[in-house]
Structures are given as structure tokens and as C-alpha cells.
């Protein structure tokens, strides 16, 4: 599963994208955030306020309880500030 990071989530983690293989028990977006947070200090810092983090699965906004099964690409980013 490909994961992408944007804006300060990207900066804190130190990379724009990677391929991950979370264990089977990680079923939702919020569980994936918790699992990623345990990988290193950098991930823990990026996801220190999980409620602020927005997620998209295959280019569509999703809520924290969305299932990640079947996702090709999951993205994490701060609230959008375009326009």
C-alpha cells in the first residue's frame, strides 16, 4: 500500500511517500495513524494531534473510521489552505 504525506506532515516525517505493509489488525485510517506513530519519533511528531490530520484514500477524502482494505494509495495531510 502506497502512503503519501503533504505539507508539514511530509516535513515532519521527512519523506513524501513510501510503501508500507501494516499488520492485519490495522483496519481503519485511525488505526493506521496509530500504527505509523509507533514507528519513530518523526512519525509520532507528525501525528501528535491525530484529530488535525486529514486523510484521503485513492484521492477521496475519508473519515478516521474509514476502512483501509483495498486502498491503493492513502494520503495524510493537514487541513487544506488553498484558494
Amino acid at each position: 500500500m502506497k502512503v503519501k504525506y503533504f505539507a508539514w506532515v511530509r516535513e515532519r516525517i521527512g519523506k513524501a511517500e513510501e510503501t508500507i505493509e501494516p499488520p492485519a489488525g490495522v483496519r481503519t485510517v485511525e488505526e493506521l495513524i496509530a500504527w505509523l506513530s509507533g514507528r519513530s519519533e518523526a512519525y509520532a511528531y507528525a501525528f501528535e494531534k491525530p484529530k488535525v490530520i486529514r486523510a484521503a484514500i485513492d484521492h477521496a477524502h475519508v473519515r478516521p473510521d474509514a476502512a483501509i482494505a483495498g486502498a491503493r494509495e492513502i494520503a495524510f495531510f493537514p487541513p487544506m489552505t488553498g484558494g
Binding site: H59, F77, M80, T81, G82, G83
Partner: protein, 155 residues
Amino acid sequence: MTGPVTIRIQEDDFDIAREIAGLTKGRTDVGAVVSFSGICRGDEDSAKISALTLEHYPGMAEEEIRRHVDEAVSRWPLNGVTVIHRVGRITPGENIVLVVTASQHRQAAFEAAEFLMDYLKTSAPFWKKEESAGGTGWVEAHARDDEAAARWTKS
């Protein structure tokens, strides 16, 4: 809808007159054209800004804008829509974003342009980083933008 839809994400500036002409030239069914251009200001909440850098999520940004353009087209009788969002480094006074809507009637053109801008602000995956004398930092989302977008939600 009978008319063109253009969505572009680009580093280059845009030409408002050319984009308006693209929706109206050679046609006699358009009665109203609204353009909105968003410009980089030199100060934000009294802090001086020397530049913005705009990052986006390629692929999703275009799709997200397309979804909202499709919704605008289904809600208002439009004759054409153009949305251009710049990315990269932008200095004060430069254009950031352009929305142009064309319709037979002015209210549809106005409302669709406002709707698209409100959604671009809150749901299109773009992020602004500000450079100022005090360093650089990511712009925080405004609650007022969420409120502006919420007014279009059908109840």
C-alpha cells in the same frame, strides 16, 4: 451543460481576459460571466509576507476540483466553468487562483463562483507555506472558511 469546463493546476500565471474569452467568444447564449481572482497579499493578520509556496496533491487536486465543478453544474444552469490554481512560489501581488463561471443569468454565475471558491478553500488539497521576516511557516486553516463552505450543504 452546454459549454467548456477547464481545470488547470500550473506554476505559470494566468490571463483572466483570455480565460473569460474562452467561455464567451463566438457565443450568444452567455448573459453573465463572473470571475474571481485570489491574489497573494503582502500581509496576513498584520504579519508581513515576502512569499507563499503552494504545494498540492497531484491527481487528487484535479479530481477534487472536478467533483465540485460537476456539482456546481448540477446545481446551477451554467454555460461554462474555468478553474485555475497556481502552485509553487508566489510573491505578493501575484495571482493564486482563478474561477470563472458563465451562465444565462447573473445569480447562477455569482452563486456557482462563490460555491467553487468556498470548496477550493476547504476541500481541494492545496497547502500554503508563508515566508516572512520571522521565518517560514504553514498557513493554518480558518474556521471562517469552513463556515463559508458549510452554507452550501443541502439540509
